[in-house]
């Protein structure tokens, strides 16, 4: 049995490593994805242009505009002198937001009456607009606080401290998540192609008439994607703290433990897709079909807690959901072993389920 197992493992490894182009495809695109997604999926809004239609020209309105211009997130202030010009500026996307200060603004401030600032946002870019709205509110609030420190309405003062990511650096949040997302893509893809390739090239029958048992074939096919996943995972573990400056505070062995079970769970899904597919093309599309919902349900883009109850149940069966918690935990908050274990055993259960299902399907579709 060991001889047979060794033979098929060696063969499967050669099958993905023999072609130099295939070798590159396993490593280079995940790296490129890491860099591109890392810099592209930024959650900050920088370099924005804001329009100002100042109808007041008093001291306080000038003060406000100067503060706007001084904000590090705002690149340029576009002066607007006509309501139609304001509409055009937003229409042409020259500005993402426009601020209108009416004629009585300075007078109101001086008289200690509530002063009004109107802000108009480009709803086509709702996400960014929301963030800009936050910036504007903060600037206005700071100005108000300085004018009237002892304002009529008492304001509660809150000092916000963000644990684990004190400066709210988005890279700290996205990088540990990208490890999960990118290894999902690679792990599923490599596995999904493996059985389908044999079917398509006609080597499947040759494999089936050999004395190899089904479990030996499956184990042989599981090894390469797990090795590739561990290799890419190690690469990320090395690059993310050194290149992107995200702290790695937790235990590396625990990370590998969770990564291993995560890969097992993925390989089970990939094998299921592969057993179902007749051609590599079908397998690839099938892997894609799984990857998108798996990513969306992982909690990377939107918190799982905000999803409807039935989707939350479904998300429990989604391997990236659990590994995402471990990855962020290990990187940012030195997750203790008990916590890692609590999020790893679901992965082991999912792996057991998907691997059993794919073995059954493989057997059923042998003919």
């Amino acid at each position: 049995m060991w001889g047979r197992l060794r033979a098929i493992i060696v063969k499967e490894i050669w099958a993905i490593l023999r072609d130099p182009r295939a070798r590159l495809i396993l490593v280079v695109p995940p790296l490129i994805q890491l860099f591109v997604l890392g810099f592209a999926s930024t959650l900050e809004v920088k370099n924005i242009d804001v329009g100002v239609y100042n109808r007041d020209d008093g001291a306080w309105s000038r003060e406000f505009v100067q503060r706007l211009a001084g904000s590090p997130n705002i690149r340029r202030i576009v002066r607007i002198d006509h309501p139609a010009a304001l509409r055009e500026a937003i229409d042409d996307q020259r500005v993402i937001a426009a601020v209108v200060l009416d004629q009585r603004f300075s007078a109101d401030v001086a008289a200690r009456r509530p002063a009004v600032i109107q802000a108009i946002f480009d709803g086509r870019r709702s996400n960014a607009a929301q963030i800009v709205s936050g910036y504007l509110e903060r600037i206005a609030g700071e100005l108000g606080a300085e004018i009237a420190p002892q304002a009529a309405r008492p304001r509660s003062q809150s000092a916000v401290v963000h644990w684990f990511n004190p400066n709210l650096d988005y890279l700290w949040f996205t990088m540990p998540a990208l490890v999960v997302i990118i290894s999902t893509l690679a792990g599923l893809g490599v596995t999904a192609l493996s059985v389908a390739r044999e079917r398509e090239l006609g080597t499947f029958d040759q494999l089936m008439v050999s004395p190899l048992r089904v479990q030996e074939i499956l184990v042989g096919k599981m090894v390469p994607p797990i090795l590739v996943g561990l290799f890419n995972g190690s690469l990320y573990l090395l690059l993310i703290p050194t290149v992107f400056g995200v702290p790695l505070t937790g235990s590396i062995p625990l990370f590998y433990l969770a990564l291993f079970f995560y890969l097992l769970a993925l390989v089970g899904i990939g094998m299921f897709v592969s057993s179902l597919a007749k051609t590599q093309q079908q397998a690839f599309l099938g892997a894609f079909l799984v990857t998108v919902p798996a990513t969306l349900l992982s909690g990377y883009a939107t918190p799982v807690d905000n999803m409807p109850a039935w989707l939350q149940v479904l998300a429990e069966a989604n391997p990236p959901k659990h590994f995402l918690i471990v990855s962020e935990g290990v990187f940012l908050k030195a997750m203790p072993a008990a916590e890692v274990a609590a999020n790893t055993w679901p992965l082991a259960v999912i792996a057991l389920g998907t691997l059993t299902a794919s073995a059954l399907l493989f057997r059923a579709r042998m003919e």
Partner: protein, 575 residues
């Protein structure tokens, strides 16, 4: 008569600068209204020549003209080309494939209906108009391929090995169709590895290693072996050993088994050996036989390989057993309400070759797959080397070697990696594994190819590697599924020398084939048609049976095959 539709003059083509010439100064002419055959071993340059004629390649030297213009500039509408692998869209129906080719070739909408009706009628595909091309049998695919190539009546029709993988009935029909087209004044180039087809051509061009060895009517070449072909009725007993002895003699150029006789081609001017000189019964009759194109083909290429198999010499002796090596007991397979194999029973004793014959889609592959464990029978059972296929499938698998119709090894892996893998999965390790690999590398002369991707080797070497992978663990039973499809006669003879040698060591062989001369090597044959076993017996017995049923005599095995199928059709219609 008008001039030739296509001329290649002194054409030379190299794929690597300074490398060997794929074609070296080859000149051919294709006359309208005639069947022109293009034959030669693998790698002889047949496909290269076809690609030059269809303007897909440019020659390094020489000229290629089609209808008076250089091939690359010729009007594509005058060339009908049917590539080696069906150029069909498998996810489109028959009629959609035809429409697509009509669009591609710019056939006027007004002419379409009439043309399609004629082509579908001609190819007898009218009934399958809406069936997906992927769901057609091999023979029907080739007919559809032909119809697509003919969609706008071409002046030159080029067919690249249209007979590969197609059963004798479909092949005859295809031939008759193309012959009829030629009769209408089309110039036909028919490239083939089947020499019986070449024999029926009006003109034959024989290529070998890029050179033209023969040009002219096939009878001219066949004439060269006139009076040198003999048939020795030795009886079935020990005929494989006798053939090996005959082939090892210097005065014998070529020899094959034909049922219970040997067919020998002698060197010029030498009388056939006396039966007792080979060790055959002295009473064996020796009679002159009608020479065939294949005899001359092997002769001009320098004769067949010697008769002793180095592979068999190093093979273990498979022990005698009481029970049959392969047993099929009322094997039946149904897919839904379609019965693919119905109540098939036979027993193959140790050390025999058993052939499964039948048209494409008749159920022989299904039977074959049930016996090697790829399909589970719906009812009935099979045993291989004493192991029950239902209860001891893994043991049965360990004791069989399998070689498939298509090259089904790992083309992306090197020859050495393939050998390592297949010896490993059959449980060979360490020294035994190294020795087994060394042995087959030596026997099949694979040494130069060890680091090469197996998919990029010439067909003959792929076929050798496939056999090597099947026999490294020295199984008592071999399953061969159309093992020499598309392989030239020389490699085919070498292959059968090995198989004959292994059988003498006690190996049992189950083979499916479309080559009737290959079927002649079998001890017994089962003919499967419409899921039923319609005849079983020795090749000579089947010929005799067909002769009585059809009221003819002196049938070839192919005639017998067709006669038995027609007789079965008549019986079914009468019932």
């Amino acid at each position: 008569m008008a001039g030739p539709v296509a001329i290649a003059h002194a054409v030379t083509k190299r794929f690597a600068p300074g490398g060997p010439a794929a074609l070296d100064g080859v000149s051919i002419e294709i006359e309208p209204g005639r069947m022109t055959g293009l034959v030669g071993p693998d790698g002889a340059g047949k496909t290269t020549l076809i690609r030059l004629l269809t303007g897909l390649l440019d020659p390094d030297a020489g000229t290629v003209e089609v209808m008076g213009k250089a091939a690359a500039e010729a009007d594509r509408a005058v060339i009908g080309y049917m590539p080696q692998r069906f150029g069909l869209y498998e996810d489109l129906s028959v009629i959609e494939n035809l429409s697509l080719y009509a669009d591609l070739r710019g056939l006027d909408a007004g002419e379409r209906d009439a043309r399609f009706r004629r082509l579908l009628d001609f190819t007898d595909l009218e009934r399958f108009r809406t069936r997906l091309a992927g769901k057609l049998s091999g023979g029907m695919k080739q007919k559809l391929g032909l119809a697509c190539a003919m969609v706008k009546a071409p002046a030159l029709l080029v067919l690249d090995e249209p007979g590969v993988g197609v059963d004798p009935v479909s092949r005859r029909e295809l031939w008759a169709m193309v012959r009829e087209l030629a009769g209408e004044g089309i110039g036909v180039l028919w490239s083939t590895a089947y020499l019986d087809e070449a024999e029926k051509c009006d003109t034959v061009f024989l290529l070998s290693e890029g050179r033209l060895l023969h040009a002219g009517p096939p009878a001219d070449l066949t004439g060269q072996v006139e009076g040198r072909v003999f048939r020795m009725a030795t009886g079935a007993e020990g005929r494989r050993l006798l053939l090996a002895r005959a082939l090892n003699r210097d005065d014998v150029t070529d020899g094959t088994i034909q049922g219970a006789s040997l067919r020998l081609v002698m060197k010029p001017g030498i009388a056939p050996p006396a039966p007792d000189a080979l060790g055959a019964p002295a009473s064996s009759q020796v009679a002159p036989a009608v020479p065939r194109f294949e005899d001359a083909f092997v002769d001009i290429l320098g004769g067949g390989p010697p008769g002793t198999s180095a592979l068999a010499a190093a093979y273990r002796a498979v022990p005698e057993r009481q029970e049959p090596a392969i047993l099929a007991e009322r094997l039946t397979k149904r897919f839904g309400d379609f019965t693919a194999a119905d109540d098939i029973s036979f027993a193959i004793p140790r050390g025999q070759i058993f052939g499964l014959l039948g048209p494409n889609g008749a159920g022989k592959s299904t039977t074959f797959k049930m016996l090697c464990g790829l399909l589970t029978p719906t009812s009935g059972n099979g045993r291989v080397a004493g192991h029950d296929l239902r209860t001891a499938r893994a043991d049965a698998r360990q004791s069989l070697g399998y070689m498939a119709q298509k090259f089904s090894l790992y083309g992306d892996l090197s020859v050495r990696q393939n050998l390592n893998f297949f010896s490993g999965v059959y449980g060979l390790t360490g020294r035994a594994q190294r020795q087994a690999i060394e042995r087959v590398v030596e026997v099949f002369r694979l040494g130069d190819y060890l680091p090469v991707n197996s998919g990029s080797m010439p067909l003959g070497f792929k076929q050798r590697l496939a056999l090597a992978c099947a026999v490294m663990h020295q199984p008592p039973v071999l399953f061969l599924d159309e093992p020499t499809s598309g392989v030239d006669p020389i490699v085919r003879r070498e292959f059968w020398t090995h198989i004959n040698g292994l059988v003498e060591k006690g190996v049992t062989v189950l083979v499916t084939t479309h080559f009737m001369d290959e079927a002649e090597y079998c001890d017994r044959i089962a003919l499967i048609y419409r899921a039923q076993q319609i005849a079983i017996g020795t090749p000579d017995a089947l010929k005799a049976q067909a002769a009585t049923e059809a009221g003819l005599h002196d049938l070839t095995l192919e005639d017998a095959f067709i006669a038995l199928i027609e007789a079965s059709d008549r019986k079914r219609e009468a019932a």
